[in-house]
Structures are given as C-alpha cells and as structure tokens.
Symmetry: C2
Subunit: 266 residues, 2 copies
C-alpha cells in the first residue's frame, strides 16, 4: 500500500526509470521489491522471454515487448518514456551481470536523461545454479561469458587462462553461441591445462525457473561427454582444487569447503 502511494507521488513529480532484475525466471525467486515495482509500473519493457516469465504480474501496465539483439532500441524507448511515466525495464537474472543496466545507463548518458533512475538487483544464474548444486561457490570465484559477440575471443581466452591458473571456482555463462559452437569445448580445454580432471563440474539448465530444470554433476575429465546437452541457457560451474562431490539421497552435490576443516574439529 505504501508502495503504490509512493508510486503515485512519483507520477505527479515526473517519471522514474527502474531497471529491474527478475531473477531466474519464477516470481517466487524475485525480490519482494522487484515484484512490487513491476506491479505498480505504467510501462514494462523487456525481451519477450523475460516478460513471459513474469506474465502473472502483468495486467494494468502497458507492456512493450522486444527481442534479443534489440537491446539498444529497447533502452532508447525506456529512456524516452521515463521522462513522464514510471517505467520498468526488465532484465533476466540480475540487472548488472550481462543484463540491461549497462546499456540503459549508456543510452541515458548519451541522451542526457535527467530523471530518477533506480536499479533493483536480482538472483543471477550463478547463484540460482549453485543453489541447485549444493555449495560449489562458497569462496572466491570468476564469472566469464563465452559469447564473443561483444567481447573479443582473445580477451575471453586470456581470462579463462588466468582464472584457471588462480584456481578460482569458475562460472561460465553463454557456453555456446549460434555462430560459434566450439566455444565451450575450447574453454574446457584451456581450464584443463590448470585444473585436475577430478575437479567437480556442475551443469545447470533453467535453474529455479519452475519448469525445465535439469542438472548434471560430473568432473572436468568427463564433462565433454555432456557436450550435446549444453546449450545457450546452460550455466557451468567448475570447482576449485578443494571441491568434492557428496552423494546424498541418490543425488550428487558439489561442496567447495571454505576452509573451516583447517580451523575446527567436526
């Protein structure tokens, strides 16, 4: 109630631009505030894939659907509308991590937009995937997208080499792109130069999305057996040198011990 009152006040005072991470793709895994802001918006813009995931929240708002690859047009439209209305730009997962926050702010900067902007974070794929795998990411980690559409492949390769050498837990986003099907196998090849074949690897599809959830727990030495299973929407988590597999209730989990065993007796 307080929420919708403050929304009305914003309306009279001019527009507001919210850039909102909707999380993994089910309303229950969104933040309470992200849900409330969407419910109270005048306009909701986003990629159709993500708008479908929050369909149950869309009723009174004007919805503007867009498509993959149209990020700049979508950002420009949001910035334009935000001059006079409450506008929500939705982003899958978190708004920062490979999300819409960057391009929307770039366009706002370019167009000299001077309205109130609020960015709402969300659960990004690595966190959703990790929660399905157990505790693979309890310590230092690196996140790398294998899509070379916006980042040159030699930069990606350098990051793969150095993060594997540093023995980070490594999360790989966008393992396969339409044009380059070999990105995933090349990345695994690089990581295997530094990490042992016994290191656990988790593959997760549609984590916490409510439907289509699937997971595989394997090792670095065996992960290429699942190459055909990996697609654009798969998140891959490669453990560090301490990670191990724990079997419980007929399922395999990945545990990366944080180091308590060195300090405490249990």
């Amino acid at each position: 109630m307080a929420e919708s009152q403050s929304q009305s006040q914003n309306k009279t005072a001019g527009g507001k631009l919210y850039i909102v991470g909707i999380g993994p793709g089910s309303v229950e895994q969104m933040t309470v505030k992200a849900r409330d802001v969407i419910l109270n918006a005048d306009y909701v813009l986003g990629n159709s894939t993500y708008l479908d995931q929050i369909e149950s929240l869309l009723g009174t708002q004007e919805v503007i659907r867009s498509y993959m690859g149209k990020e700049v047009d979508r950002a420009r439209k949001a910035v334009e509308l935000a001059k006079v209305a409450n506008v929500v730009m939705v982003s899958g997962g978190d708004t920062n991590v490979y999300g819409m926050a960057g391009i929307v702010l770039e366009v706002a900067e370019h167009e000299g937009l001077d309205v109130d902007i609020e960015i709402l974070p969300g659960v990004t794929a690595i966190l959703a995937g990790a929660s399905m795998l157990g505790a693979p990411v309890v310590t230092d980690f690196a996140v790398i997208s294998l899509s070379d559409l916006l980042t040159p492949w030699d930069v990606i390769e350098k990051r793969l080499n150095l993060s594997a050498e540093a023995d980070f837990v490594i999360a790989l986003y966008n393992p396969k792109s339409r044009k380059r099907q070999s990105n995933f196998s090349r990345a695994i090849e690089i990581i295997r130069k530094y990490k042992a074949d016994s290191v656990p690897v988790g593959l997760v599809k549609n984590a916490l999305r409510g439907e289509g959830e699937d997971r595989i727990v394997t090792t670095l030495g065996k992960v290429m057996e699942y190459e055909d299973w990996v697609d654009m929407s798969t998140t891959i988590l490669v453990g560090n040198g301490d990670s191990r597999i724990w079997s419980s209730q007929k399922k395999d989990f990945i545990i990366t011990p944080r180091g308590y065993h060195k300090k405490y007796d249990y």
Copy 2:
C-alpha cells in the same frame, strides 16, 4: 496458502533443512520464497546480525541466535533439528557466496544426515553494491575475499594478481579483518600494477540494507584517500579498462560498457 500447506505436509513426513540467503538485509530485497519459507519454519537459526535484519518475519518460530565464529556449532545444531522439524539456517546475502551453505552441507555429510535439503539463493553484496553504483559489473568479473582467516594470504595475493592481469571487474569482500588492517592497502597496491589509476572504483556500505547506506565513487589512483572509510562491511568494486564515471543528478555512477558501442550506433 499453498506454501503453508506444503509446509505442513513436510512436517508430517519428517524434517527439512532450508539454507536461506536473506539478501542485503531488508525484507523487501529478499526473494519472495525466502520470506515465505522463513515465515513457515519451526526453527530459524542464524548469526544475530542477520536475525536482527529479518526481525519483522519472526514470531511463531523458535529462534536460535548464534555469533560470528560459531558457524560449525550452528551448522551442527541445524542438522540435528532438521531430522524432525522444518529448519531454516539463514545466511546474509547469498547462501553460497561466503555464506552458510558450505559449512552446513559439510556437517550434514559428516553426520550422514539424510533429510531433504533445499538451498535458496539471495542477492549477494556485489549485486546490491553494483545496483547502487550504476552498471559497474555488466561483464566478466572476479570476486575475492580479503579475509585470510580461512584462505592463506599467498592464495589471495595470487588471485589478485591474476584477476587484475586478466582485466576482470574485481569485487573485494571483507576488505579489512580485525587482525590484519593492511589487507585492503596491499590489495590495491597489487591491482595498481595492472590497472590504470584512472579506472573507476566504487565503495559501498550497507547496500540496500534500508539504513546506513553509503557510497563513494572514486578512482584507483585516489581510493587510498578513503582508507579510513573502509571497514569489514564495505564492498569494493574495481572497474575494468573500459569502465567510466557518469555524473547525473549530482551523483557519480560507474558504467562498464559491455561493447554495444562497437556494434551499434546510438
């Protein structure tokens, strides 16, 4: 309502252990499901700091408070109770990232616990902090804790060197520990070997916690001027070579362009 029915069913079928990330520290930034699971628990265990943050959700549950450094005892207690009751172990931020998921699963493994375990992710500090700074983390990044309580300092130093060399956006957690006040300055010194002094740096305290929020936007060359401002609860975000500062509405934001400007005209 469906939620509380399924809870009751769980009760009769035996215990269940939820390991729940409560996010940055205000109920509105928790996921909808994390909130509901806490509301319906028999027992809620956690560090007092985090229990205080969700006080408005605690009424009928039995609450077991614990303290920093007592993680193993807390985990053992949760595992014991979960044999017969619905137990929630709360973790600040996300349950994986420097959270409780690891130690709870380690103890469950050690004690041969065979009940249903569900892990619920949350918005971790880097995402909350990033949302306050604008769009600093829209591409590949590394997350490093500067606490050498559980990770040896030489490993931390190696990760700082290699992640800076790879030009990741770098997030630093736990920049100062009680015993070693110099971790932060040593980390900045290492990063400056690879990154230019003009690279933007954001410092965020209590991001999205509802109170005590504060932020500073500066550069790598000037960040040591704020050394006294940095404490255990500060999250630091160091940009990559493309990151820049945008001033809007009398505030500085950090934008890390993802690369759209190379592909599109805007």
